[in-house]
């Protein structure tokens, strides 16, 4: 067969790499800012756009989709061309992908601080951006599948399998979780409600970790690690087994984010057992990485690229053992809602994704610029500062998580909570928040050193935008025989379909019964839809990102029903919650039973200056809620949208809803007046108070709620 001459596109890789570095620094800096706000709330400068609830999603989105996302694309575009011996399918699609993705990131950076959010974690971006993500992801997919189809390599290497799984699964996850009904240009309500919304969200959230942070990076590991070590991959068999078991099992594990919630028990148990079964498949990846270094460990000592990768793979192994352990119910009962989880995800994020990216960049940049790394010494300094950063970040948070959780649960000899005031359990761990911020600062400093090193490296070399390569075209003959999986590696379409089937099974089995079988969410007669004013208040709660620090899920523990003075949360209470607002972290106390727990003026004073009612509170003040007015013109649209997704507002209620709104606002304002507080009825704080006072109260109207 005749040799074909073609060129690899390095320019697109360079652009993605630059975006990786730039957004990496931005994302980490935002992380450092919010970490500092936890002991220095004033750092928000008193303005809404920099307040924790709004920029915590900015941090997560920036590091996941901008930093890790761009790193993934840089790594994939470089390795895929070479593994398939083909230039990318279409240069135009490559560039649409690049600029489209960066525009989405810019849109996120603008809308999130403005409070335009769906509230669903790692899926906060509003519906127009969701559509843009879908389109750009499809562009990426076409470009990838197109390249695979015109490849000059008969078989697809294991890295390509992981890239395919990434593309297919992220597409499914994003589309299903983003079903929402638009209300205005940048406001929508989730199509699902309560328990169902929670299940879909954490099926998405968990598998965003699996298929955005894990599978693409395993793919990258399978290319860059053997390349850098110049060693053969340890076991082809292990690749096959751990690839298929990983993608099949991962998708089931989402409910482990909802243990001890109102999610049906059977779904919780599936989440637990599939998480446990995930240990070996995850470790398969780690083993294949580490054992590839067999016989090359002496080089790990000298080569910063390998050093970063070894720590990355080890961090991956630790995080994927810890994850399943956290899915065991009695461990989860301690760790859930605490900083333990924050520590856990950062071992994965900083260790696995961060260090893998750094290792890859240290290898890639000298390669593409045809030179040597500017300074191995600086890379080593980065390595040690980064590793130290991870440790100083994680250890205090592990301690904080366990300490706070035990304080929440501790009953004294008389049978009372030893720490009835939630705030006590917060002030206890503030010093650990300080240490954590220091860890973050170290890690960021290391990344800055890397940027200098990489820029200097690029400067001393010359960039090769087009890299010439040659390979014979694939013969159009039918190849038969070989191991069954080897045959599959020749059939990208069938491979992709099988991948799709493997990742659909778990989701379908968990979701369909939860949606269709009524007994999973027993109805409670007294639970009614929110009033118009409460709806406005709820949307303010979402806009300010209150759910980033406050849960709305009283778990069935004595320590919680006593602390929060009411029954534990029931599935039937959330049927009108589009979206659900259970939250995942208790930096502040749970709010599901806050309705009626304090009088209106307490809330009024508390939101204006939290330390006035709760000395030592680390919650920032919300003065703008007292100046901004709600727009009653939006009421009708909200009511109509919610009716479309199944909330039983009567036909025509939207026309008279504002009368109810005004009546309820008047009632609150009058009550506030009796405490010498003057506030207009349309002030946002009034709506927020109305919502908070409603929370968790419906069930009290029915003394024996249906079980």
């Amino acid at each position: 067969m005749e040799l074909e001459h073609f060129k690899y596109d390095n320019k697109i890789v360079k652009y993605f790499a630059i975006a990786t570095v730039v957004f990496g620094l931005v994302g980490m800096l935002v992380g450092l800012i919010i970490a500092t706000q936890l002991f220095l709330p004033q750092l928000n400068l008193g303005i809404p756009y920099t307040t924790f609830g709004r920029i915590r999603p900015l941090h997560t989105n920036a590091v996941i989709f901008a930093f890790v996302g761009n790193a993934m694309f840089a790594g994939v575009y470089y390795s895929m061309q070479r593994l398939l011996k083909a230039r990318m399918f279409s240069d135009m699609l490559s560039w649409i992908h690049f600029w489209g993705w960066q525009l989405i990131i810019v849109a996120a950076a603008i809308t999130l601080p403005l409070g335009l959010t769906t509230s669903k974690e790692y899926a906060e971006l509003e519906w127009p951006i969701d559509i843009a993500i879908t389109l750009i992801w499809v562009v990426f997919g076409i470009n990838m599948i197109g390249t695979i189809l015109k490849r000059r390599e008969r078989h697809m290497y294991v890295a390509i399998w992981f890239y395919i799984a990434t593309f297919v699964t992220v597409a499914v996850l994003h589309v299903v979780n983003s079903f929402e009904i638009p209300v205005t240009a940048f406001k929508s309500y989730s199509w699902y409600a309560g328990v169902q919304d929670a299940l879909v969200q954490w099926w998405y959230g968990h598998n965003a970790v699996a298929f955005f942070l894990t599978t693409p990076f395993l793919g990258l590991m399978y290319y860059y690690l053997p390349k850098a070590a110049n060693r053969p991959v340890y076991s082809y068999k292990l690749s096959i087994i751990h690839f298929w078991s990983l993608i099949f099992i991962y998708i089931w594990a989402g409910p482990h984010h909802l243990l001890y919630t109102s999610l049906p028990n059977w779904a919780q148990s599936l989440g637990t057992v599939f998480s446990i079964m995930l240990i070996a498949p995850s470790w398969g990846g780690m083993l294949n990485g580490l054992l590839t270094l067999r016989g090359a460990w002496d080089r790990v000592r000298e080569d910063p690229v390998l050093k970063f990768m070894v720590v990355a793979v080890t961090a991956y192994g630790m995080a994927t053992l810890e994850g399943p352990l956290l899915s065991i119910k009695n461990v989860n009962a301690i760790a859930h809602f605490t900083d333990w989880i924050i520590a856990h995800v950062h071992v994965g994020g900083l260790g696995w994704n961060g260090f893998m990216t750094f290792g890859m960049l240290y290898w890639l940049i000298p390669k593409m610029w045809g030179t040597k790394l500017y300074s191995t010494k600086m890379a080593n300094v980065h390595f040690w500062i980064g590793t130290l950063g991870i440790i100083v970040y994680a250890l205090p948070l592990y301690t904080a998580g366990v300490v706070q959780s035990l304080m929440w649960k501790n009953f004294n000899a008389e049978g009372f909570l030893e720490y009835p005031n939630f705030l006590e359990t917060v002030t206890q761990i503030v010093p650990m928040y300080m240490m954590r911020a220091l860890g973050g600062l170290l890690y960021l400093s290391g990344a800055i050193i890397m940027v200098v090193n990489l820029v200097k490296t690029a400067k001393q070399g010359s960039f090769m935008a087009e890299e010439a390569a040659e390979a014979p075209a694939l013969e159009k003959k039918k190849v038969v025989g070989g191991h069954w999986h080897s045959a599959l590696e020749r059939k990208p379409v069938i491979f992709t379909v099988l991948t799709l089937v493997a990742i659909l099974i778990g989701g379908v089995i968990e979701m369909v019964p939860t949606f269709l079988i009524k007994s999973n969410i027993p109805t409670i007669e007294s639970v009614k839809p929110y009033t118009p004013l409460e709806l406005h208040g709820r949307d303010i709660y979402i806009r300010e990102g209150c759910n980033n620090c406050h849960t709305q899920m009283v778990r069935p523990f004595r320590s919680e029903t006593v602390r929060y003075k009411g029954e534990y949360s029931k599935a039937g209470e959330f049927v009108y919650d589009h979206p659900f607002l259970w939250g995942s972290k208790r930096t502040g106390p749970d709010l599901h039973r806050v309705g009626g727990a304090y009088n209106n003026v307490w809330h009024y004073n508390h939101m204006l200056d939290p330390t006035s009612t709760s000395p030592g509170s680390i919650m920032p003040p919300y003065p703008w809620l007292y100046e901004n007015q709600i727009d009653p013109g939006l009421t009708a649209g909200k009511i109509k949208a919610l009716r479309t997704v199944g909330v039983p507002y009567e036909e025509g209620y939207e026309d008279v809803a504002n009368q109810d709104l005004k009546a309820q606002a008047t009632e609150i304002v009058t009550d506030l007046k009796s405490f010498d507080v003057e506030i207009p009825e349309t002030a946002e704080i009034v709506a927020l108070i109305a919502y908070l006072q409603r929370l968790g109260t419906d069930i009290k109207a029915e003394p024996t709620a249906n079980k």
């Binding site: 057992v273 534990y568 009290k700």
Partner: protein, 275 residues
């Protein structure tokens, strides 16, 4: 270890001496870990000592021969992973080559396979226990057990309690010890909403003569005992015995007229004691 993992969350009810089960568990676990670490340290030390003695008695040739052999752990590691010796690597090298990356076809590490099988067995057993044989409690039952244990404990503590009054006939106590008990309770629990000096925060001021639900001893007693529906004032009946409710109510009434700084304005109806 896996037995521990199989059970759901243990109840957090306290047992003897007010030490909760979990605290006990952690202490026991901590002790166990400490002891195992100590044993390990001693074992390693003894091993080193033995090795030193053996070394002393070996000839130079023996020593040289030994140095070439892989150590015990290296051999164990090779066995558990079913390693092919590095020299025989070529035999299992696949003939593919992806951009210079070759693949070996090593066996799956046996310990890894074992781990995978074990987790699958765990999953099956877990589902059987919780959902087929139902021998382990699901979360609702776990909660009920936890509450029942707390209730039983309370009941056992109050078995010999003498109550010679009811909510209509109750009168304030003047016993200093009982008032002190009431004060201690007020300052740790009630103070969250009513402030330690009774001046009121989220809950009303309790130091003036204005009451939302009546200011007689009997009224105050009833509010503490039964709570006020749809407010944060919960019923304390399940957590306080009648004598202690009387102690708290009695202490609370001693705050009348103290006029603490920063107290909330009057709320409710004026109540003047009859005498």
């Amino acid at each position: 270890m896996s037995c521990l993992f199989l059970t759901g969350s243990s109840s957090f009810a306290q047992t003897n001496g007010g030490m909760s089960d979990t605290t006990m568990m952690y202490m026991a676990l901590g002790l166990a870990i400490l002891v195992s670490v100590l044993v390990l340290v001693v074992a390693v030390y003894v091993l080193q000592l033995l090795r030193a003695f053996v070394n002393l008695q070996m000839t130079e040739e023996q020593k040289a021969a030994r140095a070439d052999e892989p150590g015990y752990f290296a051999r164990l590691w090779a066995k558990w992973n079913d390693f092919k010796p590095m020299e025989e690597e070529q035999d299992i090298m696949l003939d593919h080559d992806y951009d210079g990356i070759k693949e070996l076809d090593n066996h799956l590490p046996p310990w890894w396979k074992g781990l995978f099988y074990l987790t699958i067995v765990y999953a099956v057993v877990y589902l059987l226990i919780f959902h087929v044989f139902k021998t382990a409690p699901l979360q609702e039952e776990q909660y009920e057990r936890e509450m029942a244990a707390a209730e039983a404990l309370r009941a056992s503590k109050e078995a010999d309690l003498v109550v010679d009054f009811d909510e209509e006939t109750v009168t304030p106590t003047e016993d200093p010890a009982e008032l002190a008990d009431g004060q201690k309770f007020f300052e740790t629990q009630c103070a969250l909403c009513h402030k330690a000096d009774g001046g009121g925060l989220a809950g009303p001021n309790l130091t003036d003569k204005y009451w939302k639900h009546g200011g007689s001893m009997s009224d105050v007693y009833k509010v503490i005992k039964n709570g006020v529906p749809n407010t944060a004032m919960i019923s304390w009946e399940s957590q306080l015995n009648p004598v202690r409710i009387r102690n708290v109510a009695s202490y609370l009434l001693t705050l009348q007229g103290t006029n603490p700084p920063g107290a909330l304005p009057p709320d409710g109806e004026l109540y003047e004691p009859e005498n």
